[in-house]
Symmetry: C2
């Protein structure tokens, strides 16, 4: 029988002690495979769905544009991926960039350009496009 | 005209100085939206493609299984997502878990169970399934 841990560890995943333990575990991990790993939600829902969807707001085309642009720029240790529903649909199109875990809402090629230039290449943040943790549905 | 940085910053993205700067920037970021964000590659290629594909090795069904299992376990701040090609096709099915940036190759529901129990809930690593950075194609 698989030991899935007690109820508290299942519903409230990371206590402070667990986080500290995870931090120490992480220090022994391998180097990152990608320096920046971008996931653009391309989830599609039926038209007029109450939550909307990123794909319906052009995310698929903008993700393709970001891929091409990253290639043109020679960003070898950067990966741009499509992803399934990131569940912040009302704020879309959304993307998340790891390992930072920084989220953006974007709507045009100029936004993508700025995210690549400022965040991915420059290591900064595009403040005007940032998503805050309290935006979107509760977990 | 957009300033995309010089050639060296484009081809070799993160120098030590840049990494240090990024680290300091990161400390001011928001809390993570998801404690653990799992991306399972579900890319599909034609049969007999020389690189193979994760979808052809059952990743879509196993990703669905992982979603259901995470829900049953009540892992509210954990997100399991499908993703496009993670480009480590020969080693698939592959998944990556952020913010740690830890990669696994898995092949059955028992592997998924162990990754959820040991890594996602327990904060450890499933050593036997880990992918090392030097496995897969060069960037």
């Amino acid at each position: 029988m698989t030991d899935w841990g007690n109820d508290s560890s299942s519903t409230s995943l990371r206590s402070s002690a667990e986080a500290a333990d995870k931090e120490s575990t992480r220090s022994g991990d391998f180097a990152l495979y990608y320096d920046a790993h971008v996931f653009c939600c391309v989830n599609e829902r039926p038209p007029k769905h109450r939550r909307g969807c990123c794909s319906g707001k052009g995310s698929r085309q903008l993700c393709d544009y970001m891929c091409r642009k990253a290639m043109v720029l020679g960003l070898r240790r950067v990966r741009i991926n499509q992803s399934g529903c990131l569940n912040r649909c009302e704020l879309g199109p959304t993307m998340v960039i790891y390992p930072e875990g920084v989220w953006y809402s974007y709507s045009c090629e100029a936004d993508i350009d700025e995210i690549l230039r400022c965040h991915v290449i420059g290591g900064g943040r595009v403040e005007r496009l940032l998503l805050h943790p309290d935006e979107g549905p509760r977990h």
